[in-house]
């Protein structure tokens, strides 16, 4: 299959001016809010160091912590299963639902379930799945993946949402008022919460010392999904483990501040044991994480707490949208995770970056994102994943720049070309630079020539 062409997708995104302008402005605003929070806490950089230390320690002892978590969770009355990959995860979830005769599942946001492509798997087997996070529900109804891990429909304007709802849940066509639309969604979803046989959540963190897991939302939809039906399924990536409750404070203080610039989410929910008369099933999922753990240059990406701050700050992401990356995880974190899933499909993603490093600076767990993007480029070159045109161009440039005489010949040739060729010969489809920019004017002499004339002593 062809690799994802981020540049091509971005050109369409940029053409939709109103959408682009909102998308860029909204996410930059979240970045500014994040800055205000970070600068108001004197210990912010210390918290980042602590968070990074907690994650690195945990990941380097992950097997022990996973076993501790499982033992505690089981003694709390939860059932724990393990899934090697996406299809095993989906099968396990389906088995649990079938065993309980559950035909309707309400769920809160979980990037893990997106990663596993769980919904179509369940739907073709007769389970109705209702996303309850407003952004996720919009995307579900529009049959489109989420574009951002925290604000899934940020690429849509209110008119788009209105169209989707009018088409799918019977809201008033042409009524664009966000309050009206949110109320329409509230009324549409409520019966599902009340009638569903099963609820599913993901987990932001899982705590080894108590067998608990934590879910953070602003809507309270995870709490409704987990506390109304008699069956609660929680899908947790194995990298979500942290050792102790006291460590949780470090992450909860930074998660929402990094994501949305608010001190905490409206609901921070801690699940340790099932409500009496109900069942709690935990599915621990690998799906490539143990493999990534062994990648010397890339295992730090497992520290990620899914805050989305890297996406909000990334100037490329804001101007191209999450969907242009063609993967569950987009933006800077997506660039360093996705190639591990499919190196060919995502071979262009490491180049959808200027290596400006802002992502690394906002990451609450200090993932060296831009360094990993640089290293992935080396992997792409070594594994022959560069497009032929690019590979050849770089090879030729490398040859010219390693030989002083070839270099000097190329400089004068380029200068002459720009000076002598008519405009249409320079500015055409062969020259991407010239589509929206002027080419620099060639000077009368190069620096080297000037130096020889003005400074060179024998």
């Amino acid at each position: 299959m062809k690799p994802i062409d981020h540049a091509e997708a971005s050109s369409h995104f940029i053409e939709a001016k109103a959408h682009l302008e909102f998308h860029d402005r909204r996410l930059w605003d979240l970045r500014m809010k994040r800055d205000r929070q970070a600068h108001s806490i004197p210990e912010w950089e210390e918290l980042r160091n602590l968070a990074s230390a907690i994650k690195e320690h945990t990941l380097s002892h992950l097997a022990d912590y996973l076993e501790e978590f499982e033992a505690k969770a089981k003694s709390n009355g939860a059932q724990v299963r393990w899934a090697r990959d996406a299809s095993e995860h989906n099968q396990i979830v389906h088995d649990i639902l079938s065993a309980h005769g559950a035909k309707t599942l309400v769920k809160s946001k979980s990037m893990l379930t997106e990663e596993c492509d769980m919904r179509p798997f369940l739907e073709t087997r007769g389970v109705k799945v209702i996303e309850t996070d407003l952004g996720e529900r919009i995307q579900q109804l529009d049959d489109e993946p989420p574009s951002h891990i925290v604000v899934p429909a940020v690429h849509k304007l209110r008119g788009d949402v209105s169209d989707v709802f009018a088409r799918t849940i019977g809201s008033e066509p042409g009524n664009n008022d966000p309050r009206y639309l949110a109320e329409a969604m509230r009324r549409d979803t409520r019966p599902y919460f009340l009638g569903a046989e099963a609820g599913m959540t993901g987990a932001n963190f899982a705590i080894a010392e108590t067998g608990s897991f934590v879910v953070c939302t602003n809507e309270g939809n995870a709490d409704l999904s987990a506390n109304v039906p008699k069956l609660h399924i929680a899908c947790i990536g194995i990298e979500k483990i942290i050792p102790k409750f006291e460590h949780l404070a470090v992450f909860i203080r930074m998660l929402s501040r990094s994501a949305l610039g608010s001190p905490i989410t409206q609901y921070t929910s801690h699940f340790r044991a099932p409500r009496s008369g109900t069942e709690l099933h935990i599915v621990l999922v690998d799906n490539g994480r143990s493999q990534r753990l062994g990648m010397k240059d890339f295992w730090y990406s497992l520290k990620c707490i899914r805050c989305g701050a890297c996406m909000n700050t990334c100037p490329v992401y804001r101007r191209s949208g999450g969907l242009s990356y063609g993967a569950t995880y987009s933006g800077p974190i997506g660039i360093i995770i996705d190639p591990a899933f499919d190196i060919r499909k995502y071979s262009n993603l490491p180049y959808a970056s200027t290596l400006n490093g802002s992502c690394t600076n906002v990451c609450p767990v200090k993932i060296n994102i831009h360094d990993q993007i640089y290293k992935w480029r080396q992997v792409m070159a070594e594994r022959n994943q560069l497009p032929l045109v690019k590979k050849e161009a770089i090879r030729i440039i490398g040859k010219v720049l390693s030989d002083p005489r070839l270099y000097r010949a190329a400089i004068s040739a380029t200068g002459l070309a720009i000076e002598r060729l008519p405009r249409f010969a320079i500015y055409n489809w062969l020259n991407p630079w010239g589509r929206q920019r002027e080419v620099p004017e060639p000077p009368k002499q190069s620096f080297r020539s000037w130096y020889l004339k003005n400074r060179r002593r024998q």
Binding site: L50, H57, L59, P152, G220, N227, R253, P263, Q266
Partner: protein, 206 residues
């Protein structure tokens, strides 16, 4: 080999060299401000409200004055009777028509304006989400400074379900417009009433 064993074996084989032990997490105390003031400021910025102090009409009167049109008032605290009773065994879905839910929080967190609730305080967890409006009683002497303090509370290790609630349900998923009452409660009102200040509702429960 079971999936469990396969995963654990893969993790063990791939784990990076042991990273240094985690340093002790400081409490990051900030001594200057009044905890009550900090709590109030934080809660308001998160969309929460404060109830005026009690008068002669007591807690019952307060709730009725805040929500004059409420038909179904459901209280999880013995301090207020309300119009609908509940206990641990009440079916969550039966609370779908509750207009106002009333609970007493175990403690509050000044840094964020959060209140701590578990199945003990809620009786039925879903009360905090199915009610249209939520009133939370909080003893002002039970406010801790920040989340580092909060997460040292031993009750996290015994509660089946514990939640830090901060303001009402909210979303800004449609064009960034902030809306309260997304899927959960439309409003959250904190009444800073010390424990033991309001006597238990006198009339026997039906």
């Amino acid at each position: 080999m079971s999936s469990r064993d396969a995963i654990l074996a893969a993790v063990r084989a791939n784990q990076p060299a042991p990273a240094p032990p985690i340093p002790a997490i400081p409490l990051f105390e900030r001594t200057s401000r009044s905890l009550i003031e900090e709590f109030q400021e934080a809660l308001v910025s998160m969309g929460g409200k404060f109830a005026p102090t009690l008068d002669a009409s007591g807690l019952d009167g307060l709730v009725r004055s805040l929500f004059p049109d409420a038909a179904v008032i459901c209280s999880a605290t013995p301090e207020l009777r309300g119009t609908r009773t509940l206990d641990h065994s009440t079916d969550p879905a039966a609370l779908a028509d509750v207009d106002v839910g009333v609970v007493r929080a175990a403690f509050g967190v000044a840094e964020t304006g959060s209140v701590w609730l578990s199945e003990e305080e809620l009786q039925v967890n879903a009360l905090a989400y199915l009610a249209q409006h939520f009133v939370v009683l909080l003893d002002p002497t039970r406010i801790v400074g920040n989340l580092h303090h909060a997460y040292r509370d031993a009750r996290f290790k015994t509660a089946r379900y514990a939640v830090l609630v901060t303001g009402p349900s909210a979303t800004a998923d449609i064009e960034g417009v902030l809306i309260h009452g997304a899927q959960g409660v439309r409003s959250l009102t904190v009444a800073m009433i010390p424990l033991g200040h309001t006597p238990e509702a006198n009339s026997p429960r039906p």
